[in-house]
Each structure stands twice: as structure tokens, then as C-alpha cells.
């Protein structure tokens, strides 16, 4: 590693840290909704929950409301568009665990999505000669299988520096598609039709979950997203989440501080993979048809664009980014053809000009921890802090 990376040597580290803390606290102009995050955090817990309930109710009502302006252009069914958006949002939430929390670049996320889709298809479609199980059971099964693949891929590569993971996952994304073409059991381009769906019939005796009706699929996926969000939020605040952030910020420092980085990296990768598999299974159910043409690497980059656009490390941002990436081509049909070009350029521009994305993650988590620590030890320790500061200055002057 070259010396340009990693922490720079600052003569007076305590003062610099205090400055960084102040900066983190006083920084207002980050994000396109300045101050919103702070206002939100200032609200009492129960008011937050109340607002969240309102947002959730509106989200559930979206397919019925069909709001003008927002609705998709003619030719793109709004309910099905919503279902697709929700699947993309779920994908982005899963990828955000890998890229956003743990800072691992997974460029073959579509492979996990594909494995999930194929799991759902091969265990439910009448085209498949194998064991058939109810569709809903394929959701946990898809998660388990993709998690297995995640560990299989993660264990050899995560011991190394993060960038090897990028190329290995990139290769894996393409290999899954090639294998789906070669292996006869996966039926290549012919694919699997009539993938299963959850049970239930309406008053007329027709099944509720039809491929042509996006609403129930949207509701199902939205429910899954909410559950995953709650779990991911808990993880984020737990020891695991703190370990991920430590790894993302400085892997060597985390390792020295006793964080088993390899273990937590594999966890992040496997959890991300399993959410990818889950969304793949939902996608297969909604579309009802799975073949090898849907899982090219371009889709993978689209997923990454969703996370980066929304704000790496922010789960709400991931949902926003995922929905936008699915929504924009359906809302503006004229540019749908260029969506890959647009999102590719967007990736570069965001990284250069606005690396935090639309909804920046709360980077001040670490600064917040330090502030709390300083506040606790301040009264009796103030002199000692002074002494170390002076010492630092002297060392710096030499």
C-alpha cells in the first residue's frame, strides 16, 4: 500500500479530531434536503414512528392512488411498474449492506438475483422436472441457497484486499449466465414458464397473484422490504453494524482494534447475497418467466448505480435509488433505450461531484461516538487533555 492512503499524520491529532467533530456536527449543507436529517433525529421516538406509519400507508396505497405526473407513461402498467420498483428497491437494500455498510464492491450482484430467480423457477415451474414446493417456501430456500453461494465466493476472496472481490464478483456475474446457458437443466433461453405464486383466490375464484396484476406483488414485496429494513436497521446499530462501518472506514485499524474483519466481511457478503436471492425469487414470481437473458452484467451495474445514486450506506437512500433506477425508464419511455448509458455516466458523475448520493449516509456516527465520549470524561479530564494536546504540539514542532 502506498503512503498516500490511510490517515494522514497530523501533528495535533486531538485538535484535529475536535475540528472534525465540530465540522461533522455543524455541517448543514450536505444533502439536497439540508437539515432534514437533523430535524428528523430531533423528533421524539413516537413521533418518528407516527410519521413512518403515514409514509408506509401512503406507500401501500400507491397502486390504488395512481397519482398523476408520477404515474408511468401509457404502455407501462403503473401497478407492474410499482412491483418492479419494489423489487429493485429490495435489491438495492441488499446490495447496500455489502457496498454501503461494509464497503465491499460487489459487481456481480445480479448473479445472486439470478440464483434466487432460478431457485423459485426450478422448484415451482411445471417446466421443471424436479421436486415442486409451494412458492412461498422458495423464498427462504432462495435466501439459503444464495447465502451458500455468497459464502462460497466470499471465503476465498474476502481474505484479500477488497478490490479482488470486485473482479471475482464481476466474473461470477457473467459465469452464472453462461452456466445457465450451458447446463441443460437450467434450460438456457427456453427458460421456465409459469413460475409459482403465493396461494389465495379472490371472490370470483381467480388467483390473487397474477403476473398481469402488479398490485399484490407490490404489496408482498413492500412488506418484505419493511421486514428487511427493520432487520437491517437492527444490524446496522448492533456490534455487527459497527464492525462493518469500522471495516469500511479503515480495515487495518479495525483489525488492530480486534474486529475479526474477515468474519464480518463474509457476514456482510452473505447477508447481501441472501437478500439478492430473495428479491430474485420475488422477481421470478412476479414476472412468471425465467430464462438466461435477464441476468446480464449490465443489470448488475444498474443495481450498483441504484445504491450509489441513493446514497451509499443509507438504507432509505437505497430504496429511493432502487425505485428511481426502475422508475425512470418506465416514466420516460423516450430515454428508456439509453438507460444503461445514462446510469453509467451517472455513476461517474456522482463519484466525482457528489460521492454521497441523493441521501447521504450519516457519516457522523463515528464523530458522534467521540463527542459522547469526550462529554463524559470532560470535567475531570480537561487538564489531561490539555497536556496531551501540548505534547502533541511539541512532537509536531520537532
Amino acid at each position: 500500500m502506498s503512503t498516500t492512503e490511510g490517515p494522514t499524520l497530523i501533528p495535533d491529532s486531538a485538535a484535529a479530531q475536535a475540528m472534525a467533530d465540530r465540522e461533522a456536527k455543524g455541517r448543514r449543507r450536505r444533502g439536497w434536503f439540508p437539515g432534514l436529517g437533523d430535524k428528523w433525529n430531533a423528533l421524539p421516538r413516537h413521533i418518528q414512528w407516527l410519521w413512518l406509519m403515514v409514509v408506509v400507508v401512503i406507500a401501500y396505497l400507491l397502486p390504488i392512488l395512481n397519482p398523476p405526473f408520477i404515474t408511468t407513461e401509457p404502455g407501462n402498467n403503473w401497478q407492474i411498474a410499482l412491483a418492479q420498483m419494489s423489487v429493485y428497491a429490495l435489491v438495492a437494500v441488499g446490495l447496500n449492506v455489502v457496498v454501503g455498510y461494509a464497503g465491499l464492491l460487489d459487481l456481480g450482484y445480479v448473479a445472486f438475483f439470478a440464483v434466487g430467480s432460478y431457485t423459485a423457477a426450478m422448484f415451482t415451474s411445471p417446466d421443471s422436472p424436479y421436486l415442486h414446493i409451494p412458492y412461498l417456501w422458495t423464498l427462504p430456500l432462495a435466501m439459503a441457497i444464495t447465502m451458500f453461494f455468497g459464502v462460497l465466493l466470499g471465503v476465498p476472496t474476502l481474505r484479500l484486499r477488497g478490490d479482488y472481490l470486485a473482479i471475482v464478483t464481476l466474473g461470477f456475474g457473467e459465469i452464472v449466465r453462461i452456466l445457465a446457458t450451458i447446463i441443460p437443466a437450467m434450460k438456457g433461453q427456453v427458460g421456465f414458464q409459469n413460475v409459482g405464486h403465493p396461494p389465495g383466490t379472490d371472490a370470483n375464484g381467480d388467483p390473487i397473484f397474477l403476473n398481469s396484476n402488479g398490485t399484490p406483488w407490490y404489496w408482498l414485496t413492500l412488506t418484505v422490504i419493511i421486514i428487511v429494513l427493520l432487520l437491517a436497521g437492527n444490524l446496522e446499530r448492533s456490534r455487527v453494524g459497527r464492525a462493518w462501518i469500522a471495516i469500511r472506514e479503515d480495515e487495518d485499524a479495525a483489525e488492530i482494534m480486534g474486529v475479526p474483519t474477515f468474519k464480518y466481511k463474509v457476514w456482510a457478503f452473505a447477508i447481501g447475497a441472501s437478500v439478492g436471492g430473495l428479491s430474485g425469487a420475488l422477481f421470478a414470481g412476479q414476472v412468471g418467466f425465467v430464462n438466461n437473458q435477464k441476468f446480464d452484467i449490465a443489470t448488475s451495474i444498474l443495481f450498483l448505480a441504484a445504491v450509489v445514486l441513493g446514497g451509499t450506506g443509507n438504507k432509505v437512500g437505497a430504496i429511493l435509488g432502487g425505485s428511481l433506477v426502475a422508475y425512470i425508464p418506465l416514466r420516460f419511455t423516450s430515454i428508456a433505450e439509453f438507460k444503461y448509458l445514462i446510469f453509467g455516466v451517472a455513476l461517474v458523475l456522482i463519484m466525482i461531484f457528489r460521492s454521497a448520493g441523493l441521501l447521504p449516509a450519516r457519516q457522523r456516527l463515528l464523530a458522534y461516538g467521540r463527542l459522547a465520549y469526550n462529554k463524559l470524561k470532560e470535567p475531570p479530564m480537561s487538564r489531561r487533555v490539555q497536556v496531551t494536546t501540548d505534547g502533541g504540539k511539541e512532537a509536531g514542532d520537532e
Binding site: G162, I167, E174, Q293, L304, Y340, L347, I352
Partner: protein, 343 residues
């Protein structure tokens, strides 16, 4: 059906066409029969991989960055070759030309491809990576930018030229030169391997002996100290990208010679992954390692496809090799450091 899915990435080896029900074989006889022909073919592809791998290795050595856009630098070179050949009125079947006319055409195509690729590489560096360096962006930002650039260039070409591969243009008819163990080596294979090896030796010597080469090694070893010692870091980085682009342009010419129908917007992508695998196999950041790794990946891929019975296995085999190398010997065969290589 199968060939429709991935038209450009298949190395056409006609003896390895699988039956419908035998999607995977373990045909040692076939390998023994075709051993020499697949060796020569593998070496040809290996030479191409090695040239592309050099670009990855140099940039990785200097910047610690996987330059995903390098596969697009390569494919831009392929388009350079394609347009030169179209301008020279080449068609699907090779015309009968005198020897010197063939050499002239090849050199012209080479020059165009090299300029196109090197320019692309330099522009990518200036537009995408330099602003990030100035901002001291984290590693992840570099990688995401790299894949974004790769993607943007791919779909820029897609937007311009459409999804289907360009018409196949052949430059000259491969003529048998000599045979080894009953296998004919043709002029095409010979030209590619010899030219590629010359280029690689030249690159190696350039890095080891020239002043700029010393600068590249110095920056790879320690950018800050190199700057203090009077090395212009930005200029060195730009030179590194240009050299990588130049070699990718040469590889593009050989690739179009070998697979005339391979000029497609995403045609460089898998080749890029394989070239990177080659760089890792030889030891990333190591110039001679890239050469060795490229040839090995070419050979292993070709043996694998003959053994397993389908040309599509080439990519899978190369990928498995990459993962195995990372597990067993992540430093590669010759070890990883551009900076530590002796002058």
C-alpha cells in the same frame, strides 16, 4: 441457440462441438488428439490476453486500481481496426494481396488502433480518475468510477453502433507455415505470437531500462517519495495509461485478426476479466508475470474447452483459475510488485 447468446466471445474450435445431451464431457482422448492444435491456439489467445493484462498490471502497479475501463480501451482499439479495414475496402473473405501490401495494411491498422486505444486510456485517466485523486477519494470511489466509465463507454458504442457485432473483415488468409507433431501452424498464429512477444519484451525492457520506466517503478513503489525525488507523478501516471492503451490497441489488432466477428460493444468485457485473471495469475503489478499469466490462461482455457467439450467453458475455466489462484497463491506465480522489480 448457444452461439446466439454470446456470439463474440466464443473461440471457434470446431472439434469441440457438444451433442445436445452431453453438455459436459471429460474427454481426455479429445484433448490428447487435439493437444498441439489447442496449444498453438491457446498460445495465440494467450498472447492477446497477455497484452491486455499488461495494461491492467501497469495501472494496478502504479495506482492500486483495477482499471475496469481497460476492456473498453481494448474494444475501442478493435473499432479502430474495423474502421481502418472498412476504409481499405476489406470484405468477409480475404483478398489476394502481395506480401508487402498485407504488411502495410496491418501496420496502418495497428497505428490507428494504438492511437485510438491510447487516446481513450488517457482521456479516461484525465476525465475520471484524476479528479478523484485530487479529492483524495476512497478506494471504493475509484472502483465504482472505473466500472461506471467502462459501462458508459460500452453503451456509448451500443448507442452508436447498435447491439449486433460488426461485419467480419478478414485481412489475410492464414497460410500454413510449418507443422509441429502433425499440427499445422499458420501464418496468422505465428504473426500474433511473434509480434506480441516482441511487444512484451519491449515493454519489459522499457520499464526496466528507460528513465520513464524507472519513474513508473518509483511511483509504483512509493508515490510520495518519488515525487520528492523529482519524479513528475501525474506525468508518469498518464504515461502508464498511455502504454497500457498502446498495448491494448496492439492486442485489438490481433484479436480482430483472430476473431473477425468479435467487434461488438461488449466484446471486450469477458476478455478483460480473463486478462485480469492472467495478470493476477502471473502476479499483479509484475510485467513478466502478465506475460506468463496471459499465456497460461490462454492454454488452460483452450485445454479446458477441449476437455469439457464446449467452447463456452473457456470463460468458466478462466474464472475458476482466477478464484483458485486467489485461494492458493494470491501473489501470483512470479509475485506482485512493479516497484520491486530490479533494473
Amino acid at each position: 441457440m448457444i452461439s446466439e447468446a454470446i456470439p463474440s466471445l466464443i473461440h471457434a474450435v470446431p472439434m469441440a462441438v457438444p451433442m445436445d445431451d452431453t453438455w459436459i464431457t471429460f474427454d481426455v482422448n479429445s484433448l490428447a488428439e487435439n493437444f498441439w492444435s489447442s496449444t498453438f491456439d491457446g498460445l495465440t489467445f494467450g498472447a492477446i490476453y497477455a497484452l491486455v493484462a499488461l495494461g491492467y498490471t501497469l495501472v494496478y502497479g502504479v495506482l492500486n486500481l483495477i482499471n475496469f475501463a481497460h476492456s473498453e480501451v481494448f474494444i475501442v482499439g478493435c473499432y479502430g481496426v474495423f474502421f481502418t479495414l472498412s476504409a481499405l475496402n476489406f470484405g468477409p473473405s480475404a483478398p489476394h494481396l502481395p506480401f508487402w501490401a498485407i504488411v502495410g495494411n496491418l501496420l496502418l491498422a495497428l497505428v490507428v488502433a494504438v492511437i485510438a486505444s491510447a487516446l481513450t486510456a488517457v482521456i479516461v485517466e484525465r476525465v475520471a480518475y484524476k479528479p478523484l485523486r485530487r479529492r483524495k477519494a476512497p478506494r471504493l470511489a475509484f472502483l465504482i468510477t472505473a466500472i461506471g466509465v467502462s459501462f458508459a463507454i460500452q453503451y456509448l458504442i451500443y448507442w452508436w453502433r447498435g447491439p449486433s457485432p460488426e461485419a467480419a473483415l478478414t485481412m489475410f488468409r492464414p497460410t500454413p507455415i510449418f507443422d509441429v507433431f502433425g499440427t499445422i501452424v499458420d501464418s496468422q498464429q505465428l504473426v500474433i505470437i511473434i509480434a506480441a512477444v516482441i511487444l512484451m519484451v519491449a515493454t519489459d525492457q522499457f520499464i526496466r531500462r528507460s528513465k520513464t520506466g524507472r519513474g513508473i517503478r518509483a511511483v509504483a513503489q512509493d508515490p510520495d517519495t518519488a515525487t520528492l525525488m523529482g519524479v513528475n507523478k501525474e506525468k508518469i501516471i498518464l504515461t502508464t495509461f498511455a502504454i497500457g492503451g498502446l498495448l491494448a490497441g496492439a492486442a485489438a489488432l490481433f484479436y480482430v485478426m483472430k476473431i473477425p466477428s468479435g467487434v461488438q460493444y461488449n466484446g471486450g468485457f469477458i476478455l478483460g476479466v480473463k486478462a485480469f485473471a492472467a495478470a493476477v495469475l502471473g502476479g499483479i503489478g509484475n510485467v513478466r508475470g502478465a506475460l506468463l499469466g496471459g499465456l497460461l490462461i490462454g492454454l488452460i482455457g483452450n485445454y479446458g474447452q477441449v476437455l469439457l467439450g464446449s467452447s463456452q467453458w473457456t470463460d468458466v475455466v478462466a474464472f475458476v483459475v482466477l478464484v483458485l489462484v486467489l485461494v492458493v497463491r494470491p501473489d501470483g506465480i512470479l509475485g506482485t510488485s512493479l516497484g520491486k522489480s530490479k533494473a
